[in-house]
Symmetry: C2
Subunit: 258 residues, 2 copies
């Protein structure tokens, strides 16, 4: 009988323990892509993934198929999958759509939100604010933990919109923006008062001032896009793609694009 840890320790799959291998590798792969552990545009070969995640091809195919529908990977029949590439045009498209979608979710939330919604916003904002003092790393905003709390904050803002589909949609678009956010955090010289932006947004929402809140979230969203453009607008698109490959999070084992 082989010892329990005969093979690779499976790279600590399952953030919240998906009962299925497929689900676990899906979540893990999604995080790895969002944090650029697999570079934008990189080829995702089954053999490499199999070795990295210590699973067979079946769960991998299923995970990649789902991610393809989500837009995080691009698959072409019979010639494999790659990580969805990044580009300024793509960023523009996401940004425009995200303004509308997040704006809508926020508007509906402000209409329909109750005390619980307000409380959750305050809590998540507080939690997000504390990350700077709690986390020792040099760039806390690139940490897993900051991203988690940032995600939770924006989700809390939209949570009372009353539409599960809208929530899922905005979460997807939020995810798709993640890699661009990392670029700004890593390379932008301009200091950004994101805490202030988040606080102003929260205040407007709690004051039930939909117009102001929507204007603020638009500015918040466009701000990121503007900063990316400020850095990479002049340089070629290649630069952006390559830079994205360098902001990968720590436990990296991913090779760059082929």
């Amino acid at each position: 009988m082989p010892p329990p840890s005969a093979r690779q320790p499976r790279a600590a799959l399952a953030p919240a323990a998906a009962p299925t291998l497929s689900g676990a590798v899906l979540e893990h792969l999604r995080r790895d892509i969002l944090e650029c552990r697999w570079s934008p545009g990189a080829r995702l070969r089954f053999e490499a993934l199999r070795a990295h995640y210590a699973v067979g091809i079946s769960p991998l195919r299923e995970a990649l198929s789902r991610l393809a529908v989500e837009g995080l990977v691009v698959g072409v029949d019979r010639r494999g999958f790659r990580v969805a590439p990044v580009s300024l045009d793509d960023l523009d498209e996401i940004t425009d759509l995200r303004c509308e979608i997040e704006g809508l979710a926020l508007r509906w939330s402000i209409e329909r939100g109750d005390d619980g919604w307000e409380a959750a916003i305050v809590a998540s904002f507080h939690h997000l604010s504390r990350v700077d003092s709690e986390l020792p790393g040099r760039v806390p905003r690139l940490s897993d933990e900051w991203e988690r709390r940032h995600t939770a904050y924006h989700q809390a803002m939209a949570a009372a919109c009353g539409s599960a589909r809208l929530m899922q949609l905005r979460a997807q678009l939020f995810d798709q923006t993640n890699r661009y956010r990392r670029l700004v955090i890593a390379y932008s010289k301009v200091p950004r008062d994101d805490r202030g932006e988040h606080r102003a947004l929260m205040d407007a929402a709690l004051a039930r001032d939909a117009e102001r809140a929507v204007a603020l979230i638009h500015r918040h969203i466009r701000h990121t896009a503007d900063l990316v453009r400020a850095i990479y607008g002049a340089k070629g698109a290649e630069t952006l793609a390559r830079a994205a490959g360098r902001v990968r999070a720590r436990p990296a084992a991913a090779r760059r694009a082929a």
Copy 2:
């Protein structure tokens, strides 16, 4: 050497010939669900699907996984997949969101559309109008062909919005409404001038009157929802689900919900 048609004729897969079995079964399964050949809420067992589509489990799993992300099937880890159920609450949610999304796509299209966009609208409207005289069936609006042309018409309206993501999103929501549309067509006693609605919408778009066009598409979308509610609002939710199971298209081999 076995003859080309040694095994089952594979049920005429591949509307536009997806090169991959997985892709073909995905498209086929999607159509079958949209046309209620598998009843809303019905259990989708691999063995039954394997027999019906004459493919192995791997392509089926991939297709179901994708459809789950699209929202057309619901999967629960380790206890299989079912066709997404229908309900009045679900219809309300889709309707509200679809008004916003289709409205947005239309608005952007009207801003950005060129001659080619206009021409495509006129063409698709004409094509859609002709279906009544061309198709001999008793209820042409339940036919594959009408659905195809109706889909094409609404896609043409949105086509100039400039965002591939928005196009995909609106297509998904349009699909998710399909089963409710079929219910109205099959059971509503109120005669509906859908041709008139489509014409008015087209005219407003071609006149570049965004406000009017958006108002019209809202009315168009809500009209369907109102008719469903008129039929099933009083009766229990069960009735609606069961009725949906009866509007399935012809080459039916699908059993009802388990």
